[in-house]
Symmetry: C2
Subunit: 138 residues, 2 copies
Amino acid sequence: MFVLDERLEADSLPVGTREGCLVRLFRDARYPWLLVIPSMGQFREWWELTADQRAQVDRVLVDGARVLSGMPDVQKINLASLGNLVPQLHWHVVGRRAGDPAWPGPVWGHSTPRPYEPGQQAALIAHLVGELNLNPSR
Amino acid sequence: MFVLDERLEADSLPVGTREGCLVRLFRDARYPWLLVIPSMGQFREWWELTADQRAQVDRVLVDGARVLSGMPDVQKINLASLGNLVPQLHWHVVGRRAGDPAWPGPVWGHSTPRPYEPGQQAALIAHLVGELNLNPSR
């Protein structure tokens, strides 16, 4: 039985689901930043998934990366599963811009997030649901 | 035709090859840290590989992660493909320990690497070649 980690839930917004994954938007308007959380089980490390489950998650990561790379000024995608602070397995997909606050360093722990404006947030979530072909979250 | 990026070459040591990937040891004795570099083409982003190529690389990542997780005191594996500084696609597989210098933050750009002692380096490379079933580098 999958239960979303509390900190992941607090730090991000639901976007939708696909292929056994939750797709969420990180609450930081400074970077286009998705979390992809495998929910077909309770996992901590990547190798705990079967090869088929990993391939499923990978398709979501690849599509997420492609969509973020099409957003304005995004030059590089960062993909990472770290889990030093939150043990529940989750992937970060982050669109990086040469002028972003953490560039060229890593975004994790860099500086205080800036929340989305409500209208911007809703529009981005709708865009992501469509582009990633997600089942929208209620 | 694949050519290894100069900076990746300078920052790491050859360990071996498998399934179209170079496996290299990052020159920092403070963390068990592998680089896995797909060499079946010149890539920048993960989605430029076919699904089959990604599955190949993923098997190397998973085995690398498992082997590093068996090293003393390693508590969490970090997997990441960033590429903000080096555009050639490469994956980091890093074994993290609760007491390591960057813990719980990211290792990238944190502090100056500490080189391996020659004997320790040779022993670790031999261990990795065996555990990962690599074709050893000349």
